[in-house]
């Protein structure tokens, strides 16, 4: 668990953090979000002590970060930044093995680890291990950046707009890969972004910040359903109900009843999709329900406009 306790940070006379307090529970993704200059990146850098607070405490597992030797602390925390920050004169393999090398791991261990991690992030180990960063595309470099952060198997991962420099199509792929990776690894992640869609997609919890203050700290559904003040309402936007549907899975809201759907119906939706997608597809057909299929294209049941509306409304009311 990581705790921020009334943290204050000045840049010159500018109060960048004005008494920030929130907690990051273990094993889930906490997203810091807000307009630029709200203090989200600053908060992140206080955790691995790239910055030091002027007042208040940052604690990891109850222990103030100040009490750690700074290099030891950083080697135990994975760090991913926007432009990947791969060292240009080292191969992909050596980049991934860098933190283990700092920790004194031997060469064979590092190589095996690098190959395993490349496999994990979906890059062919044998064609990528010996490439240099300049030979990678933006998306590939970013994946390697994630692999590097995971190399020493740290329990905590700090991600500072990790997919910000990647084009929108690739960004969505990377987000999905990150989500499935996190399902396996269960790291404690602090993830900074200014993109609400990204936050809604990856977050277990969202901390909304503005001008160095925490505005709201909540689960994404909660933030979208009940923004706590005018700023939060404006920030989540007028389509917040739609965005919120993106958090619910079709499989949770479909009916098992297959009697009312015709099997040759062209428009259907996979069970793994979100209610937002389902809504979009229903709106494109004359009927108000469509079949739900599984990965093998078998019909599992159906999802109706009514069920989606109920989910959206019900969520907002509870």
């Amino acid at each position: 668990m990581i705790e921020f306790d009334r943290v204050v940070k000045y840049y010159g006379t500018h109060r960048a953090l004005d008494g920030v307090t929130f907690t990051v529970p273990d094993g889930c993704v906490t997203v810091l979000i807000g307009p630029s200059g709200c203090g989200k990146s600053t908060s992140l850098k206080l955790v691995n002590r790239l910055l030091e607070p002027d007042d208040g405490y940052v604690r990891v597992d109850g222990r103030p970060v100040k009490s750690f030797a700074v290099e030891e602390l950083r080697r135990g925390i994975g760090y991913v930044i926007q432009s990947a920050g791969l060292l240009p004169h080292m191969t992909v393999q050596d980049n991934i093995g860098l933190v283990p090398r700092l920790l004194g791991r031997d060469k064979t261990w590092r190589r095996t680890r690098a190959l395993d991690l490349l496999e994990l992030i979906g890059l062919d180990p044998h064609s990528y291990a010996r490439k240099y960063p300049s030979q990678l595309s933006g998306g590939e470099a970013q994946r390697v950046g994630v692999a590097r952060a995971l190399a020493a198997n740290p329990p905590v991962l700090l991600m500072d707009e990790p997919f910000g420099a990647v084009d929108p199509l690739n960004r969505e792929t990377l987000q999905n890969e990150f989500i499935s990776l996190q399902r396996k690894l269960k790291k404690t992640v602090i993830f900074v972004t200014h993109d609400l869609d990204e936050a809604v997609r990856v977050a277990d919890r969202i901390v909304l910040m503005q001008d160095g203050l925490v505005i709201q700290e909540a689960a994404p559904e909660e933030l979208l359903g009940h923004p706590s003040n005018a700023f939060a309402r404006e920030f989540v936007g007028t389509d917040r109900a739609l965005k919120r549907l993106g958090r619910f899975s079709v499989s949770d809201y479909m009916s098992q009843d297959t009697s009312r759907v015709e099997s040759e119906d062209h428009t259907s939706v996979p069970a793994s999709a979100t209610l937002r997608e389902a809504l979009s597809r229903i709106l494109a057909v004359p009927s108000d329900q469509i079949p739900v299929r599984d990965a093998q294209n078998r019909i599992l049941g159906s999802i109706s406009l009514e069920a989606i509306r109920r989910a959206g409304y019900g969520g907002a009311s509870t």
Binding site: E71, R74, I81, T91, G145
Partner: protein, 396 residues
Amino acid sequence: MVTDSGATVESWLVRKPVVFAVIIGATGVFLPLFTIREHRLDGGTGLSLLSASVPYSVFLTACLMVPVVISLVRMPARVRAGFLAGIGSVLIVLPWLLAATIGSSVLVERELGLGRVAPAGGFWFLILSGIILFSEFSRAAQGWTGTLLVVAISLCLFVMFWLGLLEDIAFIREYRVREERFFSELIAHLRIAAMAVGSAVLVGVPAGIASYRYPVVRKPVFSVVSGLQTIPSLALFGLMIAPLAFLSQRYPFLRQLGIRGIGNAPAIIALFLYSLLPILRNTYTSLSVMDPAVIEAGKGMGMTQKQLLFMLEIPVALPIILSGIRVASVQTVGNTTVAALIGAGGLGNFVFQGLGQAAPDLIVMGVIPIVVLAIVIDRVFGFFIGRAIPGVRTVE
């Protein structure tokens, strides 16, 4: 380049550089190949290949036709490039062989025992056409072909020289007369250049770091150093004389150190000032192109200050700084030639002696090693910059 393996015959026919090289080579056949001189100051008479030797003319024409034929025959692009680069190498070596055979036999024929064969237009044109073919195709041949051919060319020339086949060539004559002095001047040349560049590294690198760290320093340092580089070398050498002469008169211990108004001291100081700009500028650039994100990533991963310096900053900056030293070295080797005018040692002495005596062969003899030196230094640096630190694009 010729990497397109599926190139059609037509596109090969119109490959302009091949045609260009062949035309230059053919011009060489008609121009005088050598000037036959009775003695070093004789104007001499021209000797063209056609008038001197029919078999050789036929052979040479065949050599020049080969690229055209190769261009027409269907074969993999790499093989074709290899062949063409090979022909280029032959054209580079051939003129020397012609000098050793035709040239020497003409001297015997005309009973000019002490005469000399001075390379003329045709000689250089043939070599130029060879260089064009070689440089155009050795890269396309890929792998070690280019390197092997360079080694083969050097070996051929060296063996010819070793066996004494080239003795009748005019500038080799000049070299033989001054063999010992040649080596002492060569060493003097290298020593002056090395001392100048060495001290420029010692000053330029810290100055570059300082101008990066303290922006206040940057402008004055850069404008002074780039102003220095603007001044003509002879003028800068000249400007060193008066103050150094004054100092050495004033302080006898300086005179004991060998510091006088003329000679090596003013030369080294002026060359040092000249070398500063490339080194200073590249050091500054190497620091300013360092991606702050990479430094932050390094810190974020828990690198200590020392690890950051040795594992990140130096490896990234080194190739750029080395390119600066490369430019400075090549330039200094050239300018050391001029230093001979203010009484410093070095190969420039031969050049200016040759100019003073209106002896062209002596000039050529002085210029060739200077050019070779500059090229070799450039290539050696290029090799190390390319090999030692891969992955980083060198900024030149």
